[in-house]
C-alpha cells in the first residue's frame, strides 16, 4: 500500500513487523541501550508504535538504565484535552533527534492555573522548555459575527491569555516557551465570508495567529506553526470531531507521529541540533538519466520536458536551501570529469559547481565518501542529510553511517522537493546574515575530499541484502533489453561493440558463442537485467570475451566476480583452457581499465587493433565466494562446436 508522506512519515524507512519484540529485547542490550532505542526510533512509527517505544524508554528509566548518547531534556506541556498520548509520542520521537525526554504536564484544562502555580508538576520539573499546546476550545474566542470591536476584544484577550501563561511559566524558571498557534476548524457559518467578516471564528483565529507572530517577535519564545501543519494535511483531516467526542483528543491521532516530529524539530533546532549539510547524488537525483551513459544531450534537465522540469524544480529547491545557508556536497559514482560536465556545459542546470563545498565523484563506495565529506567540513555525521534515488545506496548509508539522515525518496522526481521539505531535517528557529553566508564560508570551490579509508562493514551490508543473481543465455524474451544495454552502455563496457537486434538474435543461435544475460534481485527490489556478456570461440580451447558490459547502478556489489565465476563454470564444463579478455579504451570507459587486472587476468604484451589483451588460465583460476545466491538456467547441454 502506498505510504502517505504525512500520515506515514514516508521519508522514514518502514517499521519492521517484529517491532514489539525488538522493543522488548532492546532492554537487554546493556550499554548499547541508547543506540538500540535510537535505531528503533529511526523507523516510521505509528501512534501505537511510538507509545510502545515510550513504554520501553520509561521502563529503562525506571530501572535506572543509562540512555547515552541521548542528551537529557525536560519538557513541560500545558495543553487542553487529553495529553498523555502527546507526551508519550514526543518522548519516543525525541530519541530520533538525540534527546532523552522527561516531561510534566499541566492538569487537565489547568494550563493557566498550573503555569501560575510554583507548586505544579509543570513548574517543579524546571523544564528546559515548555510547550503551550492550546486549541481554540480552551481560549476566550467567542464568535461575534459582524461586531468588529467584539472581535478585537476576543483576539486581544486571547493574546493576553497566551502572554500570561508564557510569562508565568518563565517566571517559574523555564528558559523558554514554545507556543502553538491555532488550526481553525473547517466548519464555518457563512462560507467565503467567514474569512473577512469580523468576529467569525475563522476571522478571530486568523487574528490570533497573526497577533502571536507579533507578540513572540523579539522574545526568546518560539512559534510552533500547527496552523501550517494542519493546513498541509487538510483541516478536515486534522480536526476529528468524533475523536474529540470520544476522548477529548485535540486532533486526529492519525497525525500524532507527524505532530510529535514537528515539536521535536523545534526543540532540536533550538538546541542547535538541526542538520546543516545536504549531500546529493547526481544521476537520476539532480537530473534524469546517467551522464556517463547518456551524455550531455541525453540527460533530462530543463524546460519543455516533464521529466526535465521535475528535476529542475528539485534543483530550485536545493538552491533555495543553499541560499539560506545549508552547505551542499556531491557524492556520485562517476568519473570526476564526467560528473562535472552538466554543471559546466548544460545550459539548463540551475546548480553550478560553485554551489558545492565538496564534489566527490569517484567509483568508491559512498559510505567512505560521505565520511570524508563530514571530516573535511568538520561536521559530525549527525549534521548530514543524504539524498539518492537508489535504494541500495540509501540503505547502505543507513546501515554503515546511521547518524546520517537518509530520507526515502519517491519514484517520481516531481515529488522530490516536497519529500525533502516534509522531512524537516533543516528546521531553523532563527535566521541571520551569518546563516545566509555560511554555505560560502566553505569556499564553494567544489573540491575533492581525501578518502580516509573504508567506512564500515560493506561486506556485511552486501550479505544482508540477500542478493540473487540469475544467468541465462541470450533468448527471445531478453532480446530487446539485451540490445538496449549493448547500445547504450558506455562506461562499464570493455569493448563498446554495438550490435543490432538482428545480430543479437543471431548470437542466440550461434553454437560457437557463449552468451550471458544477467539479472540481479535483492530484498530492496528487482534491478532487472544489469549485465551482458558474449564469449566467442574462434580458436580451439580459448574463449574470447567479445562483450562485457554492466549497469553502473550495481557497481560495488561484486557482480563482476559472480559473472567470472559463471564464465569459469561454463568454460570448465566445455573443456576451455583459457579466457581472453579484450579492453578497448574509449573516452568514456576509463572506469574499467583495471577490470581484468582486478579479476586476476594477466595482460599480454602485444595489443591487437588498439585493444589490450588479457588472459586467464581456466584451470587455476579461483574466485572468492560472492555474497549472492546464483541461479543458472536455460543453457543447452554441451554442444560439440564449443568443445574443440
Amino acid at each position: 500500500m502506498k505510504r502517505d508522506l504525512y500520515r506515514d512519515l514516508a521519508w522514514l524507512p518502514p517499521c519492521p513487523a517484529d517491532f514489539n519484540r525488538q522493543c522488548r529485547t532492546a532492554l537487554d542490550s546493556g550499554d548499547q541501550l541508547g543506540h538500540e532505542i535510537q535505531r528503533l526510533a529511526r523507523y516510521a512509527l505509528t501512534d501505537n508504535e511510538l507509545i510502545r517505544l515510550s513504554k520501553t524508554i520509561a521502563s529503562a528509566s525506571s530501572k535506572g538504565l543509562p540512555l547515552t548518547p541521548l542528551r537529557p531534556f525536560k519538557l513541560g506541556l500545558a495543553g487542553n484535552g487529553t495529553s498523555e498520548f502527546i507526551t508519550a509520542a514526543i518522548t519516543a520521537t525525541a530519541v530520533r533527534f538525540g534527546l532523552a525526554l522527561t516531561s510534566a504536564t499541566a492538569g487537565y484544562d489547568q494550563a493557566l492555573q498550573d503555569s501560575l502555580s510554583a507548586d505544579s508538576a509543570l513548574n517543579r520539573l524546571q523544564p528546559d522548555a515548555a510547550l503551550i499546546a492550546l486549541d481554540w476550545r480552551a481560549l476566550p474566542l467567542h464568535p461575534t459575527p459582524g461586531d468588529a470591536s467584539g472581535a478585537k476584544l476576543a483576539i486581544d484577550s486571547t493574546l493576553d491569555f497566551f502572554d500570561t501563561v508564557r510569562h508565568a511559566i518563565r517566571q517559574n524558571g523555564a528558559p523558554l516557551c514554545i507556543v502553538q498557534n491555532l488550526a481553525p476548524p473547517p466548519e464555518g457559518t457563512f462560507g467565503s465570508l467567514d474569512r473577512s467578516l469580523e468576529g467569525t471564528l475563522r476571522f478571530l483565529i486568523d487574528g490570533v495567529n497573526a497577533g502571536l507572530v507579533e507578540r513572540l517577535r523579539g522574545s526568546d519564545d518560539l512559534l510552533l506553526d500547527v496552523a501550517a501543519l494542519a493546513e498541509t494535511v487538510g483541516l478536515a483531516n486534522w480536526h476529528s470531531p468524533s475523536e474529540w467526542n470520544l476522548a477529548k483528543l485535540p486532533f486526529s491521532q492519525a497525525f500524532l507521529p507527524l505532530y510529535a516530529d514537528h515539536v521535536c524539530r523545534v526543540l532540536a533546532a533550538q538546541r542547535g541540533l538541526s542538520r546543516r549539510c545536504l549531500v546529493l547524488d547526481l544521476d537520476n537525483t539532480l537530473w534524469g538519466g546517467v551522464i556517463g551513459d547518456d551524455g550531455l544531450k541525453g540527460i533530462r534537465i530543463g524546460q519543455g520536458d516533464p521529466s526535465g522540469e521535475a528535476y529542475l524544480s528539485f534543483q530550485r529547491y536545493v538552491l533555495s536551501l543553499r541560499e539560506r545557508g545549508i552547505v551542499l556536497a556531491v557524492s556520485s559514482k562517476n568519473e570526476d570529469e564526467t560528473a562535472r560536465l552538466p554543471f559546466r556545459d548544460h545550459p539548463d542546470m540551475l546548480l553550478h559547481q560553485e554551489d558545492f563545498a565538496l564534489f566527490q565523484a569517484n567509483w568508491n563506495d559512498k559510505a567512505s565518501n560521505i565520511q570524508a565529506i563530514a571530516e573535511t567540513l568538520s561536521l559530525g555525521l549527525e549534521s548530514l542529510v543524504f539524498v539518492d534515488d537508489n535504494p541500495f545506496e540509501r540503505e547502505m548509508i543507513r546501515k554503515i553511517l546511521p547518524a546520517v539522515a537518509v530520507p526515502e525518496m519517491p519514484q517520481d522526481p516531481a515529488d522530490y522537493a516536497r519529500t525533502l521539505s516534509a522531512s524537516g531535517y533543516f528546521e531553523a528557529v532563527t535566521f541571520s546574515e551569518e546563516d545566509r553566508k555560511r554555505a560560502s564560508y566553505y569556499a564553494g570551490n567544489a573540491q575533492r575530499a581525501a578518502l580516509l579509508g573504508q567506512a564500515g562493514d560493506v561486506e556485511g551490508y552486501l550479505a544482508s541484502l540477500a542478493m540473487e543473481i540469475d544467468f541465462q543465455p541470450f533468448n527471445e524474451t531478453g532480446r530487446v533489453r539485451i540490445t538496449q544495454l549493448i547500445n547504450k552502455s558506455n562506461q562499464f563496457n570493455l569493448t563498446t561493440r554495438r550490435y543490432t537486434e538482428a545480430e543479437v538474435a543471431q548470437f542466440e543461435a550461434d553454437p560457437r558463442a557463449l552468451t550471458l544475460q544477467v539479472r540481479l534481485r535483492d530484498k530492496l527490489g528487482d534491478n532487472g537485467m544489469i549485465s551482458v556478456v558474449i564469449c566467442r570461440s574462434n580458436e580451439p580451447d580459448v574463449w574470447e570475451i567479445d562483450t562485457w558490459l554492466m549497469s553502473c547502478r550495481v557497481l560495488g556489489r561484486r557482480v563482476e566476480e559472480a559473472v567470472l565465476q559463471q564464465l569459469l563454470d561454463h568454460a570448465r564444463r566445455r573443456g576451455v583452457r583459457k579466457l581472453r579478455g579484450v579492453f578497448r579504451p574509449t573516452d568514456r570507459n576509463k572506469l574499467v581499465e583495471k577490470h581484468y587486472a582486478k579479476l586476476g587476468f594477466s595482460q599480454q604484451p602485444v595489443p591487437q587493433d588498439g585493444c589490450q589483451i588479457w588472459e586467464l588460465e581456466v584451470g587455476s583460476a579461483v574466485v572468492k565466494p560472492v555474497p549472492m545466491a546464483i541461479r543458472s538456467f536455460g543453457f543447452n547441454s554441451v554442444s560439440s562446436e564449443m568443445v574443440r
Partner: protein, 84 residues
C-alpha cells in the same frame, strides 16, 4: 460480518495491541481481566479497532459497552453495515 470471524479478527488486534500472543478473548472478558487495559489504553484500542475495520465509533456506542461480547457485537454490526 459474523461474530466468530469478528472475534478472531479482534483477538489478533488485542494480541498485537497488548503485546501478548497468548491473549484469548472470552465474551465475558472485561478491562479488569487484561493487564494494561486502563482507560487510556481503552481509547487507543478503540481507535486501533476503528482503523483496522475502517469503522467509526460514537461516544454513546462506546459508553454502552460492558464486556468483550458487547464489543464483538458492535464491531460485527458496524463492519456488516460497511459491507465487510
Amino acid at each position: 460480518m459474523d461474530t466468530a470471524s469478528c472475534q478472531n479478527a479482534l483477538q489478533e488486534i488485542f494480541r498485537d495491541f497488548f503485546d501478548d500472543d497468548t491473549l484469548t478473548l472470552r465474551p465475558d472478558m472485561t478491562a479488569h481481566d487484561v493487564e494494561g487495559w486502563d482507560s487510556l489504553a481503552n481509547i487507543r484500542l478503540l481507535l486501533t479497532i476503528e482503523r483496522k475495520f475502517q469503522i467509526k465509533f460514537s461516544a454513546s456506542e462506546v459508553g454502552g459497552l460492558q464486556n468483550v461480547e458487547d464489543l464483538v457485537a458492535l464491531v460485527a454490526r458496524k463492519a456488516a453495515y460497511r459491507g465487510v
